[in-house]
Amino acid sequence: MFGVGFGTVLAATAIGALNFNNNLALLLAFILISISLMTMFLAYRNQAGLSVLKIAAEPVFAGENALFQVLIRNTESRNRYAICSRWNTATEAHEGGVGDCRDFLPEETLKLNLKCETWKRGRLKMQAFAIENRFPFGLFKAWSILVPEAECLVYPEPAHNPPPLPRTGRGDHGKAQKGDGEHFHGLREYQPGDSLRRIAWRTSARHQKLFTREMEAPREEACEFNWYLTPARDVEEKLSIMTAWILRAEHHQIPYSLEMPTEALPADLGEEHRAACLKILALHEG
């Protein structure tokens, strides 16, 4: 919009100068006009030759914001200034218009984030978005619209007050479980919910990053999340409750198994198991 306003002021200056044949004012107007036209080109060139490497999105729970990370590489040895990402359509889901904005050094690769509200579980297809810039004076905008293939997995929204965990299953017949225990199994990055007692403090200090010791021990006890045994009024509520249970079980480091009408996962614990279970819940049909 600024470009239009600025253009109007320029036109007024030029017409006034032409009318009074005031050459200095006319020269000023013409200089500003040619600067403006030059910036149109500069804006285009500021963006040409950027390539989108990939788009990634971590799964989120329904109701949270999905964060699409667009990885962009500056393939040339010159700078890019204030390259921004923006949703192409300002629908309600994409409230907040402007996404992210970065300067790119030569051959630098950076992430531009795009946020999107979620309200229902399943696969969220990424909407069309634009990469744009208004370098150097905000007079002209150069943009390219991308229609991506990317999607974000949206888990069901965890129930706020789920019933207590169904601690029915026995875990001692399974294989040794990762989690609590005496025997050191390995290191992994700290996840929220990990017990503080199991943080590998010395290693963490060296790496400026928290690491958790993964222990293994035969489990005393396990939970069984059975679709048919979960008390709920409808499907979505059932999924919500099961989601909340999974989170809680992970939190308390209690192994859990999942049994759905179409699929079943044996009792286990840990990031992968959690993700696998949640994915089944997210994509449940019916």
Binding site: F6, N23, L24, I31, S34, I35, R78, F137, G138
Partner: protein, 664 residues
């Protein structure tokens, strides 16, 4: 659709915005009365203070009050807001007040855009050599402000605007580079863009602003004021011979009516056209005059003009009056026939007008004149007698003569005996009328400085002069310059030579020479830039054999030229995005990566710092602790909120020699 989000402006941008406006205002401020200057500058002070203290905008009531006060001051200063000066002052004050509510990017951009408009309006007042420098400064600062505001807008969601690592100086450098690159295209537009041959609407009536220059009245002291003014009145290009200094009487307003103190022009003489004028074929001198804008209607010429410029009339007393006042540089061709006899026959009415004197003034002079008249019956001899009187008695030619009483002529002749050209011409004319010889005062310019470099003559306001004309049987109106009788130097070498004392503190001969020399630049500037018009535009194509350029063809040529320019300049425009200076942190990190690469670790800059460190640790286990240390430092600095000193990081990288340690 939701209304667009308002983006608050940051301090750095705001300072550049205010700098732009301040520079744009700087020229206008000189033209404003002191109270208005204060009113214009006050918002700057407040806005700076509010930026420093983080204050909120003033409440609407106070802003409206401030506007009211400013408007009141404006009307009190100018009486209205319709004159050119007043209108531009209004724009200046309003823009300055706009600062009070410029807390968002949008308002700041309005201020910057209109600052450039304000700059353009300044060219209505002056188009001298310094003005383009002023314009360039305004544009350069405005571009910085716009660039800053653009970054503010783009990074609105970031916690802070990433620095480009540029100083104010290099920001200015960037602006000037853009300006320079835009110049060729702008010049092409300037030369080739179709001009309007006549304005669509009138030039603002300028009678409300007075300019210096000769006027249609003369009282003691009025020309003397002009003597202090070194600005150019007009420039003359002679085709062929250049007249000698004594012949250079540039005729301006002719004054007929005297009320005892002040001379004024005569209504009829201004409105009746010359019945007979010299043949153009008899002209002795041909020349072109480039008249500086003076807001008046007189066009100056040597006696006697054989041509009349378009839209002008030649009056019966050979003043050339233009229909509209000269508000812009005006160029006209002129030729003069110095031997022409003006009115060999004088009508009774004119004779009466040229003899009119107020009753009851100057009794002593009357007595003296009637004494002379008895001795000398011949008119021409009587005039010579008066001149001899001026020459032989103790008369002085000087600035700041003593004031004259009610009987100005008596006072001058018998008491003060010192004065400037208007005193002499006025006194002489009155004495002639007393002797029943028709006489009138002519004002104009006398002399001129011939510029050898530029081969033209410069006539300054300080060359303003007044002389007399008496009507003699047979030869008609005859020029008599009584000043010459007192101070021959005035006529032979010019006004500055004739007065011995300097006019002001900085009035040195050498400085005047320098200024005269610089005037060549001014004239070229006038010729090539200021005076360029539709007519000049048409002349460009004459050598190519094209006499008529219609706008359509001009635009075609313009587009072709612009295309060529774009192609030629493209490599330079491409460079404008030039290297963004890496921050010291980035530079050091890249050096570290390079060292790793030399040691055989393949790494791409796209990888995260930790990935690089872990991979490198795999390849170079001996260096792993050092690699980890450096990476840790890098990450610390990278996310630290304040710009770090980096000393330890730089040293660590400097001392880093991967692959030199033996594995144990």
């Amino acid at each position: 659709m939701k209304a667009k989000r308002k983006i608050p402006v940051d301090t750095r941008s705001m300072i550049w915005v205010m700098a732009t406006l301040a520079i744009a205002l700087s020229v206008q401020l000189w033209r404003m009365p002191v109270w208005l200057i204060a009113a214009t500058l006050a918002p700057f002070v407040w806005r700076l203070w509010s930026e420093k203290k983080g204050l909120k905008p003033l409440p609407t009531v106070m802003r409206v009050t401030a506007l009211g006060v400013a408007l009141l001051l404006l009307v009190m200063s100018y009486g209205n807001v319709f004159g050119r000066t007043a209108a531009v002052s209004l724009l200046a004050v309003m823009l300055s007040l706009k600062l009070l509510e410029s807390y968002y990017v949008r308002d700041a951009r309005v201020v910057v855009s209109f600052s450039m408009f304000l700059c353009a309006t300044q060219f209505l007042f002056a188009q001298g050599l310094l003005m383009p420098i002023y314009g360039a400064l305004v544009v350069a600062t405005a571009l910085i402000a716009l660039a800053q505001l653009h970054r503010r807008e783009a990074f609105v969601d970031s916690s802070k605007i990433p620095s480009l690592g540029r100083s104010a100086i290099s920001e200015l450098g960037f602006s000037f580079r853009i300006l320079l690159l835009a110049l060729p295209a702008a010049l092409a537009l300037f030369v080739l863009f179709p001009r309007w041959t006549s304005p669509l609407w009138g030039v603002p009536e300028s009678s409300l602003d007075a300019r210096s220059g000769l006027s249609d009245s003369m009282s003691p002291g009025s020309i003397q004021q002009l003597f202090m003014d070194d600005t150019a009145a007009f420039r003359v290009d002679f085709e062929g011979p250049v007249p000698s200094q004594q012949e250079l009487y540039w005729r301006g307003p002719v004054l007929w009516e005297f009320d005892g103190r002040e001379w004024e022009s005569n209504f009829w003489s201004r409105n009746i056209e010359a019945r007979k004028r010299p043949q153009d074929s008899d002209a002795d001198y041909r020349y072109t005059i480039q008249l500086e804008p003076n807001e008046r209607k007189w066009l100056f010429a040597l006696d006697y003009p054989t041509q009349v410029p378009p839209d002008s009339t030649l009056t019966m007393d050979f003043q050339i009056l233009r229909k509209k006042s000269v508000t812009q540089l005006f160029r006209y061709d002129m030729a003069s026939d110095s031997d022409f006899a003006d009115s060999p026959q004088l009508s009774q009415v004119l004779r009466q007008t040229a003899l009119q004197l107020p009753e009851g003034f100057n009794p002593r002079s009357r007595e003296l004149v009637s004494q002379w008249r008895q001795e000398i019956p011949d008119d021409r001899e009587l005039a010579e007698r008066v001149l001899r009187y001026f020459n032989e008695e103790e008369f002085h030619y000087m600035l700041d003569p003593p004031l004259l009483g009610r009987n100005t002529v008596d006072d001058f002749l018998f008491n003060t005996r010192s004065g400037y050209c208007e005193h002499y011409s006025s006194t002489f004319t009155v004495l002639m009328r007393m002797a029943n010889i028709p006489a009138r005062v002519v004002t104009g310019y006398q002399g001129g400085w011939f510029n050898e470099f530029g081969d033209y003559m410069l006539v300054r306001q300080s060359d303003a002069h007044a002389w007399s004309e008496i009507w003699l049987e047979g030869s008609g109106w005859t020029r008599i310059d009584p000043t010459g009788a007192v101070s021959p130097l005035r006529v032979q070498s010019g006004s500055l030579e004739a007065v011995s004392e300097p006019r002001h503190m900085l009035d040195f001969e050498w400085l005047r020479q320098v200024r005269n020399g610089i005037d060549v630049l001014q004239r070229s500037w006038n010729d090539w830039v200021i005076d360029f018009s539709a007519a000049e535009q048409a002349k460009i194509f004459e050598p190519l054999g094209i006499s008529e350029m219609d706008p359509k063809r001009l635009v075609t040529v313009l587009l072709v030229v612009l295309g060529i320019l774009a192609a030629l300049l493209m490599p330079f425009i491409l460079k404008i995005q030039g290297p963004m200076r890496r921050t010291p942190l980035q530079a050091t990190w890249l050096r570290f990566l390079k060292r790793l690469q030399q040691a055989g670790v393949s790494s791409r800059p796209s990888k995260g710092a930790w990935t690089v460190a872990l991979e490198a640790g795999e390849v170079l286990p001996a260096d792993a602790p050092e690699i980890e240390r450096i990476t840790t430092l890098y990450n610390q600095y990278r996310y630290s909120p304040t710009p770090p000193g980096l000393k330890d990081f730089k040293q660590a990288v400097k001392g880093f020699r991967p692959g030199t340690k033996k594995e144990h």
